[in-house]
């Protein structure tokens, strides 16, 4: 039996598709977007995270670690990630839950049990399950086990994908999906490659194919200062949606959020947008108008300064 690796199951998720949902955030992503607000979703393996605010200095973790991978320094916990085997003993030992192994293995049975818990809420709200990430399509074999069971259980499924996965994988999964949330970030191929590490060619191609397959789509564009927020880019995405994606039901411009910043520190990862400021309401409003002129179902949301 295949298992899946998820870094979070978010109940009462109201931002990832219609109604009230449970979103399964799956680990592993082919993209390396500079602004990613879920950096713990990038690696296909578990990650060890240390939460400074929770640590009470109990030092139980230091004693528990057989690899000597932990050092408590005046500035905080240092994790020697080369030594760490992700055994989780430190997390078990910590009384304050300041250490956490991000990424939990799920069998289809166990996951289904969790997903079914809020079934009543999906029913009254027209909601369901969203598979997000990371990139859930990285774990396509697991999806192929779970999605049919969701369908059998009467759960409606939304797939939240970056699009940068081979088409044949989508072909296996789409029959069990009611709605696709697809990210379109940058239309210029070179800029896309520079910002995410991947060309957008495959993404745009998959987008067309998903539309051709008749799947309802919601397009999402993260509006990131210096990366995606220029008028030309938004217009280019808009024209692409208008011309190539007839099944698009809505298009969300998601204002940059800095909520991901602490996660980079906890993962010892550099963060390219360390000093970026939130947009102003007027800036988002202006971009929203640009988008809606071409694609009437466009809207924007998110925190502003």
């Amino acid at each position: 039996m295949t298992t899946g690796l998820a870094f979070n199951l978010q109940q009462f998720s109201t931002e990832d598709g219609p109604g009230i949902r449970t979103t399964a955030f799956m680990k592993g992503c082919p993209l390396r977007c500079a602004w990613c607000h879920n950096p713990e979703g990038m690696s296909p393996h578990p990650d060890l995270m240390w939460y400074d605010v929770r640590c009470v200095g109990a030092r139980e973790c230091l004693r528990a670690c057989a690899e000597n991978a932990l050092t408590l320094m005046p500035g905080g916990m240092q994790i020697d990630r080369a030594r760490c085997t992700l055994c989780g003993k430190c997390a078990d030992a910590c009384p304050a839950a300041a250490l956490e192994v991000i990424g939990k293995e799920w069998t289809p049975d166990a996951l289904m049990e969790q997903l079914l818990k809020d079934k009543v809420f999906y029913e009254t709200s027209g909601g369901g399950i969203t598979f997000s990430g990371g990139e859930p399509m990285q774990q396509v074999d697991f999806l192929c086990e779970v999605l049919p069971r969701c369908q059998d259980a009467g759960l409606r499924v939304t797939l939240d994908t970056c699009g940068a996965v081979a088409w044949k994988r989508y072909a296996r999964v789409l029959p069990f999906v009611d709605l696709v949330l697809l990210d379109l970030k940058i239309m210029d191929a070179a800029r896309h490659q520079a910002a995410t590490g991947v060309s957008n060619e495959i993404i745009l191609d998959n987008a067309r194919r998903i539309a051709d397959a008749g799947k309802t789509m919601w397009i999402r564009t993260p509006v990131i200062p210096g990366y995606t927020d220029d008028r030309a880019n938004i217009e280019a995405i808009a024209r692409f949606i208008r011309d190539a994606l007839p099944t698009v039901e809505r298009w969300d411009l998601l204002a940059y959020t800095n909520l991901g910043k602490p996660k980079y520190h906890r993962l010892d990862m550099p963060y390219a947008l360390e000093d970026a400021a939130l947009f102003t309401h007027d800036e988002m409003e202006a971009l929203g108008r640009v988008a809606a002129e071409i694609v009437p179902v466009a809207r924007w949301s998110g925190a502003t300064r």
């Binding site: 009462f12 109604g19 109990a58 839950a97 009543v120 027209g126 909601g127």
Partner: protein, 802 residues
């Protein structure tokens, strides 16, 4: 939200307290006047009346012992009232009459000769002074016997309250009187029914006495209505403004007719309702907390619709009449005007009105008047009457959408939502007749009862469930004082397994429940013996037939309520012991007990383990939820075994009012990681911050309790950020959440929509947020009027929100 509040402040002078700009000039003036307590000439402050006997008793202490901080002031308050009391001339032969007749005669005398009949400028529904402290009309021997009984009660009460076991008392009010009967047959009809019993040779002495007392009380109603009629005519004659002159004549007509005769129009019905209601508060002395009008949108609807159909009133005019009726209820708070008009925690009168709900066939009962009343709630932004909305599977989308729309606009929820299917399941469990259940109505805050003939007490007994954890872990001794206050269930270090620990906990719980019920029985019997309420008995079905007073078990249905306090604290504590002491054996019992006694001083690692490594109620986790459910089942089924001396069966409920704060210092540190003094959990809510999986899981945990065995109802508060309400799409999700709540949640939900920053601002700058309404465990209050502890509590609740 902040913008909204600031703009209100700019438009409104401080005393306006942000009513809607749509209020009519008349209602706006009436509302301003109400808020100008320190300036206005008229006040409804307490008026004490005595028979002249030196042993005058106004307020009873045992009627307030469920509010310990107020009860303790009562002796002083009593002597103050005694000094200020007006002497009432007694009719001949007064002292030869039985007590209930004396009480009725005294009441009639006060109403006839002493209670002022004031009509305020511009008002349409009249009846102003109703706050009284009536003599209990006892003779010297009775007074002395009564005092002895009260002293015996207080001794037991102190022994419970002072160590944090809980409190109890003969709580007045808290019922839905049969107001529809007044509308149907008038007080004339009620008097005629009673007269029949007086004259019926088959009547027993008790029945005849009870009926005579009711006849006298009905006189009192007619007399007061006549006095208001006279006053209206007097004012009309002197009035220069022609419109007001006509209004005063109409008021005179309304008073002349109703409530003596059944009303025919909406204004007559409102006047009948108010006169009857205010006199009930007057007759109750300590103006009747929780005297709840019930399903007003149902029984007033025919009058409303008939007037609209006949063209007697426009909808706008009907609304103005309704608002004039609405505002009267708030004058109950005048009794404490000089100690502050902030209306904090000790001022929840809970004159609950119930909107919506179902018809006998299960269909949606909401009507045009329901919606009009919702408009009024929004426009008036006042504390009383407090609205509850009943929702169920067939509640229309229109009503739910309106509810959510109001939630999204208000600073705090202006009403509480009652879930019919879940509430009714409890009433069915306690054995009330199936064909009446659809017509139930909550009283006070959220306590479910039948309407008209159910004299069930609520918040009579308040039991700290977490105290039983402390006692089980200390062989029945209070950890602070070392006093043996529970049975000796053994040294916990010697327990072999979880079953033994669990058994000790249940023995302790049963023991403190028995003790607190034993104390309450004295108050219940004393109230029945010394405090007849003939006026109320006229409005409670069963009293006339049984010949027994409403306080003495005369109603058709009688219950007393034990409200469980700190359920989640107890459940999380038991879960922590089960998991960490017995399952994983990570902690030794001795180590745990020592740490609790040391209040976790020097045991922070252990405390963190308890906080973080044990399952918690509120996460839809069967491990903790099943423990919570078993605790709830155990004590509430136990409570249901007991019947008071007046034949009232004890039943469970969860309305922990302010006790989750009050008993925090007297409850030792608990195995859930809580230090002594940290607040206990509130009603059926999870421990603050213990629920980490969001609202759907909390709702399911509450549902997992199976609240049928706590039929009085369970208070559940959830807070949402304004972001959750920002657009129609989000609001639809809240509608869906409510629909799901009806299927898998509890009996009553209050929704607060406030962000923590706004609350912190309000705490810092109370003057700027005087109109910020929040709901606290089943009643709403102005945030800035609450004590700092509760303010902090509400802020903490907010900050923990996902």
């Amino acid at each position: 939200m902040v913008d909204h509040l600031e703009s209100c402040q700019m438009i409104a002078p401080p005393l306006l307290w942000s009513a809607a700009p749509t209020l009519s000039l008349r209602v706006k003036r009436l509302r301003d006047e109400y808020w100008s307590f320190y300036q206005r000439e008229f006040t409804n402050e307490v008026r004490a009346y005595t028979t002249g006997a030196s042993w005058y008793i106004g307020y009873s202490i045992w009627s307030l012992t469920n509010v310990p901080e107020v009860a303790l002031c009562q002796p002083g308050f009593r002597s103050y009232l005694s000094a200020a009391a007006t002497r009432v001339k007694l009719p001949d032969g007064f002292w030869r009459e039985p007590l209930t007749i004396r009480q009725a005669l005294f009441f009639r005398e006060v109403v006839q000769r002493h209670l002022p009949a004031r009509i305020l400028d511009g008002e349409l529904v009249v009846g102003s002074n109703f706050s009284t402290a009536l003599s209990r009309c006892l003779n010297q021997d009775e007074a002395s016997a009564r005092d002895k009984q009260e002293q015996a009660f207080l001794k037991k009460w102190h022994a419970l309250n002072d160590v944090g076991i809980g409190n109890c008392g003969a709580v007045p009010g808290h019922l839905v009187p049969d107001y529809p009967k007044v509308l149907r047959i008038g007080w004339k009809g009620i008097q005629a029914e009673a007269q029949c019993v007086v004259e019926d040779p088959a009547s027993t002495i008790e029945q005849r006495e009870q009926a005579r007392a009711i006849v006298i009380c009905a006189d009192a109603v007619r007399i007061l209505a006549d006095r208001y009629e006279e006053e209206s005519y007097r004012l009309a004659d002197a009035e220069m403004n022609r419109e007001r002159k006509a209004e005063l004549r109409e008021i005179a007509h309304n008073c002349a007719k109703s409530p003596w005769l059944p009303p025919d129009t909406f204004p007559e019905a409102l006047q009948a309702l108010w006169t009857t209601h205010m006199l009930l508060m007057a007759a109750e002395s300590y103006p009747g907390p929780g005297v709840s009008p019930g399903r007003v949108d149902q029984y007033l609807y025919p009058y409303f619709q008939a007037d609209l159909d006949a063209g007697r009133l426009t909808r706008e005019q009907a609304k103005e009449w309704l608002e004039c009726w609405w505002i009267k209820h708030n004058y109950a708070y005048d009794y404490q005007g000089w100690v502050g008009t902030n209306q904090g925690i000790n001022a929840s009168f809970g004159q609950l009105i119930t909107l919506g709900g179902m018809n006998a066939d299960g269909s949606d009962a909401s009507n045009d008047l329901t919606y009009l009343m919702l408009d009024v709630i929004e426009e008036m932004n006042l504390l009383e009457p407090k609205p509850n909305i009943r929702v169920h599977a067939r509640t229309s989308d229109r009503l739910l959408n309106r509810i959510v729309e109001m939630l999204s606009r208000a600073q705090g929820s202006p009403f509480l939502i009652n879930f019919d299917e879940n509430a009714i399941a409890g009433l069915r469990w306690e054995g009330l007749p199936e064909n009446r259940l659809w017509d139930y109505a909550p009283v006070g805050c959220l306590e479910n009862t039948l309407a008209g003939d159910d004299r069930s007490g609520t918040v009579d007994v308040n039991l700290n469930l977490a105290k039983a954890v402390e006692l089980a872990l200390n062989n029945g001794c209070d950890m602070a004082t070392g006093k043996q206050i529970g049975p000796r269930t053994g040294d916990p270090r010697e327990f072999q397994d979880f079953a033994q620990f669990s058994d000790a906990f249940k023995q302790q719980l049963k023991a403190i429940l028995e003790r607190i019920i034993d104390a309450n029985d004295i108050a219940d019997a004393g109230r029945a013996r010394w405090e007849p309420v003939p006026y109320l008995s006229a409005l409670v079905g069963g009293c006339l037939e049984s010949g027994k007073d409403a306080n003495a078990g005369g109603a058709r249905y009688n219950f007393l309520t034990v409200e469980g306090v700190a359920l989640a604290t107890a459940a999380d504590s038991i879960a922590a012991v089960k998991k960490l002491v017995y399952d994983t054996r990570q902690i030794e019992m001795g180590q745990l007990v020592d740490a609790l006694k040391a209040n976790f001083e020097g045991c922070e690692n252990l405390r963190q383990t308890l906080l973080n490594k044990a399952p918690k109620y509120g996460n839809d986790d069967p491990y903790a939820d099943e423990i919570a459910r078993e605790i709830s089942r155990f004590w509430s089924e136990q409570a249901f075994q007991y019947v008071s001396p007046t034949g009232k069966r004890y039943r469970g409920g969860y309305l922990s009012w302010n006790y989750w704060i009050a008993y925090a210092p007297t409850t030792a540190a608990t195995p859930d990681g809580r230090r002594r003094g940290q607040y206990l959990s509130n009603a059926v809510c999870p421990v603050n911050g213990a629920d980490r999986k969001g609202p759907t899981s909390v709702i399911k945990s509450v549902g997992n309790l199976d609240l049928r065995t706590a039929p009085n109802g369970a208070s559940h508060t959830m807070s949402f950020s304004p972001a959750m309400m920002r657009d129609p799409e989000q609001r639809q999700k809240l509608v869906a959440l409510l629909r799901a709540y009806a299927q898998v949640g509890g009996t009553a939900l209050q929704v607060n929509v406030i962000d923590a920053d706004t609350l912190r601002e309000a705490q810092k700058h109370p003057d700027e947020y005087r109109n910020l309404l929040v709901r606290v465990t089943g009643y709403n209050a102005y945030f800035v009027g609450l004590g700092k502890e509760i303010q902090d509590e509400i802020i903490a609740r907010e900050s923990h929100r996902i």
